[in-house]
Amino acid sequence: MTPTTTEHPPRPKKKNKADTPEQGIFKSRLLPWLFLLPSLLILAVFLYYPAIETLRLSLYQSSVFLGTERFVGLENFVELLSSPVYHQSILQTLVFMVITVTLGIALAFVLALLANRPIRGAKVYRLLLIYPYALSPAIAGTLWLFLFNPEIGLVNALLDSWFHIKPRWLDTPFLAFALVCGAAIWKSLGYNVVFYLAALQNIPGDILEAAQIDGAGSWQRIRYILLPMLSPMTFFLVFTNIVQALFDSFGLVDILTRGGPVYGQTGITSFLIYQLYLDGFSNAKTGFAAAQAVLMLILVGAITVLQFRTGGKQVHHGA
């Protein structure tokens, strides 16, 4: 089972039918199934079965303590969709997603373009920009927690000595929200730059050279050549970054803010996945959490469909 973030590959180019090996070179009825068996077994048991179970559970109200389950139909969904807490959670998740995905990808695009220029030491810059790829959300949360600690953190020490202010980063709703956004963007930057650089290095230099000879300026080359040629990568990154914002933010939030501070109906950094975890494991409302999972699944599905609809048209498969 695969499905988060860091694991999706970019989509390699489609080949013409004629170039591919004639399918069915080895003749056997049994062997292909034998080769597929381990993968299919694991997908069936640990992915498809839990997915179906999640659907079933979402229709039940369960008490973990009593070990009972009661069929309630769509009651969990009705409760969720009429809950102000859940509304707020959806809204702040979407805002977080839009901010981190747009800024994160735009920043990575610019940095990758710069680091791809033929300047001295470009290789060193590239290395230093992509290293944070190996960082986890939990580690990002840990470092930022210390940096922005209101009493002993370096940021407040500096702010205090320069401006005599000591913001309560983690207790002030908007500051905490901004902080989580900043940490998420910082954490995903390495990942995005890695993939943009890989894509840039595969763009044949002669195309750009030809454009330059034809009098295209830097901006024109970016706008009319690089942007379209990188669009399959951008498409891939938007998708993976959305998934990261939805799911990987958990570790960051859990360590940095624990979903808080309270603002309106709930914590301002209680995103959907955090709410699901709280209800499923802290509050032991299994069915309620399962219903949230189903709603999030619909959200992921909708985003994917939307992505492939709009993205499919823009994808440019290169020269």
């Binding site: 860091t6 399918q23 292909p32 944070p132 790829y133 499923g280 992921v300």
Partner: protein, 272 residues
Amino acid sequence: MVRDAWKDALTHIALSLAVLLVAFPLLFAAIKATQDSSQVISSHMNFGTSLLQNIKTAWETARLGQYMMNSFVVTVAVTVGKTLLSLLAALAFVYFRFPLKNAVFALVLFTLMLPTELLIVSLFNLITDLRWTNTHAAIIVPFLASATGVFLFRQHFMNIPASLAEAARLDGCGPLRFLWHILIPMSWNTIGALAVIQFVYVWDQYLWPLVVMQSEDRQVVQVGLKKLIDVGGATDWGAVMAGAMISILPPLLIFTLLQEQFSRGFALGQEK
């Protein structure tokens, strides 16, 4: 081509700034990891002399050594297992003809749409029913199949000339030998690229181990570090920073070692 000198200078300035900003939290952690308990809570940014002491505290008192070992076992098991299972599945998809092939492939790819995080509630129930809670199997086995891996290997195999497989078959070479002696040696870039992605992905897992591992003996380092912060009262930030720095070393090392394969494995236009 003449390049403008001022453009290069601007690029240098922008990149240096970016690099500094990106690296800053890590530099900060590296410095704080060397400081003693009084320096670490001040704004001192000089290297201290307590690095070994901090590592020792994290390693022993906070069980960092145990957590690192657990993470390592789990990550290596999943990375190797996923690669092998994906290779086998891709072999079946590319070199065999069998009924329902496209439907089965669609079934595998569809799993990309089902993030594990969404299934934690029922997956947790399943693991409990299997009595796997608090075992490494709980954080290894569910992750052994990979749609990403199958997809990438399939794509890569389809770029390998068919005549090669044809010749191998005529020479009496079976599919497994073909995989072992021909396909794998021709796939190191793809294998390396996948290994990096999977290693980093598994090493950085947080939510699922947090949920399913109650036993500290088996916990992975991402969740384990949190326990270092959560101690009531005064957090030993020197030890936390030392722990954080150590915990990012393995994925960093893998990334450094496989960097070439990583970029080449994702070479989108490699057939050109």
